[in-house]
Amino acid sequence: MRKIILTCLFFEMFLHSSCTSTDKNKQTNKEDNIAVENGLIPSNTASLMEIKEYVLWIQDTENGFKKEKKIDDLTFSVQYKPYEYIICEEERKEELPDTLLKNKILEINNMQYYDFKISVNEGAGELLKHQLSSSQEYEKRVNYFSFMMQNDIQLVEDKDTLPCALFHFERTYGASPSSIFLLGFPVSKNKTAVEKTLLIYDRTFNKGLLKFTFTRKDLRNLPKIKTHEY
C-alpha cells in the first residue's frame, strides 16, 4: 500500500514539474528579443559572459564561430568576429563600460568581419615560400596575396552573394609559418541570424574552392559580454 502511495506521489510530482516548465516556455516565447549584430537572439538563450570567458568561447571551434579545415599539408581557418569580440580584442581590458561598448559598436557596425588564416602543418618558414619553385613565383604570390586574392573571396547569405569589400594581408616576414587575412563584407539587408558561407578559391596551393559555413543554429547561440556602468 505504501509503495502504491509513493508511486502515485512521484508520478504527480513528475506531472506537475513538466506542466510548470511548459508554462515557463510559453512565457519566455512572449518575451522581447535581444537584438545582436547577427540578428535576433531570444533573451532566454543569450548568455552573459565575462570578457575573458567570452573571447575564449568565440575562439573555441566547438562553438561554431571558428572553422578549421586541414587539407593535405595546410590548415585553413576562419574566425568570425562579432563586434563585441573585436572590441574586446582591441581594448584588452577585463571590464568594459556599457557606453564605450555601444559607441565602439556604432563605429564598426556597417560591415561584418572575419579573419582567414592559412598555416603550414609541418615545418617552419614563411607560408609564401611553401613549395616554391622560383623567385618569380614568390613575387607573384606576394602580389596575389596583397591585391588579387580579394577577388576570389565571397560571402553567401541566403540568396545574397556579398563581395569582399575590405581586405588586408598581414605579412609575417618568416616569423610565423602562417598568414592572416582580415576580411570585411557589407552587412546583408537581412538582419536575422541567417547561415553564412564564406567561399574562398585557393589559387596558390591548388586546393580549390574552400567553404566555411556558420550555421544559423550556431549564430543564434552568440553570447553577450557582461558590461559595467561607471
Binding site: I71, G208, L209, K211
Partner: protein, 176 residues
C-alpha cells in the same frame, strides 16, 4: 550441492573467458570498410559544382569559336561569289582564319589544363575528407572499389559509401 556450485563457478569463469576473448578480438582486429569510388566521386558536391563551372566556361568558349567560324564562312562565300577577287577581302579572310586557328588551339589547351586543375583540386579535398572520416570513425583501412579488380570481394555490410559521401559533403560545406 557443493559440486553443483563448483560447476556453476567453473561455467561462469568459462563464460567470462569467452566474453573477454571476444572483446579482445573486437578491439584489436582492424576496422575495415570499402567505398565505391565512382559513386563517391560523382556524388561529391565539389565535383558537381566544378562540372557546372567547367560547362559554363566551355560553352562561352564554344560560342566565341562558333561566331568566328560563322564570320569565316561569310567571308568565304563573299570571296567565292566575287567575280574579281578582292585582295582586301582575301587578306581579311586570312587574318580571321589565323585568329580562328590560334583561338581554337588556345582554348583546347586551356580546357585540358582546366580539367586537370579541377580534377587535382577535387581529388585533394576528396582524399583528405575520406581520411578524416577514417580517423574520426577509427578505421584501420578504407578500401576503394573502382571495379578494376583491386578489390575482388567484400561483404555488403562493409560498404560505407553512403556514410562517407554524407560526411565528405558536410566537410566540404564547412559546417562541421
Amino acid at each position: 550441492m557443493l559440486l553443483k556450485n563448483k560447476i556453476l563457478i567453473l561455467l561462469s569463469f568459462f563464460l567470462l573467458l569467452v566474453i573477454g576473448y571476444n572483446v579482445y578480438l573486437y578491439t584489436t582486429s582492424p576496422k575495415t570498410g570499402f567505398v565505391l569510388i565512382q559513386e563517391v566521386y560523382n556524388g561529391f558536391d565539389m565535383k558537381k559544382e566544378f562540372e557546372k563551372k567547367y560547362a559554363t566556361t566551355l560553352n562561352a568558349r564554344k560560342k566565341i569559336v562558333d561566331s568566328l567560324t560563322f564570320e569565316l564562312n561569310v567571308l568565304l562565300k563573299k570571296i567565292e561569289t566575287e567575280k574579281e577577287k578582292n585582295k582586301s577581302t582575301i587578306q581579311e579572310f586570312n587574318t580571321k582564319r589565323e585568329e580562328y586557328i590560334q583561338r581554337k588551339k588556345n582554348y583546347e589547351e586551356d580546357n585540358a589544363a582546366l580539367t586537370k586543375q579541377y580534377d587535382q583540386e577535387i581529388l585533394t579535398q576528396l582524399s583528405q575528407y575520406v581520411k578524416d572520416y577514417g580517423e574520426k570513425n577509427h578505421y584501420t583501412y578504407i578500401f576503394g572499389n573502382d571495379g578494376n579488380g583491386s578489390l575482388m570481394y567484400a561483404s555488403d555490410t562493409k560498404n560505407i559509401t553512403k556514410e562517407v559521401l554524407e560526411f565528405i559533403n558536410s566537410k566540404y560545406k564547412g559546417a562541421e
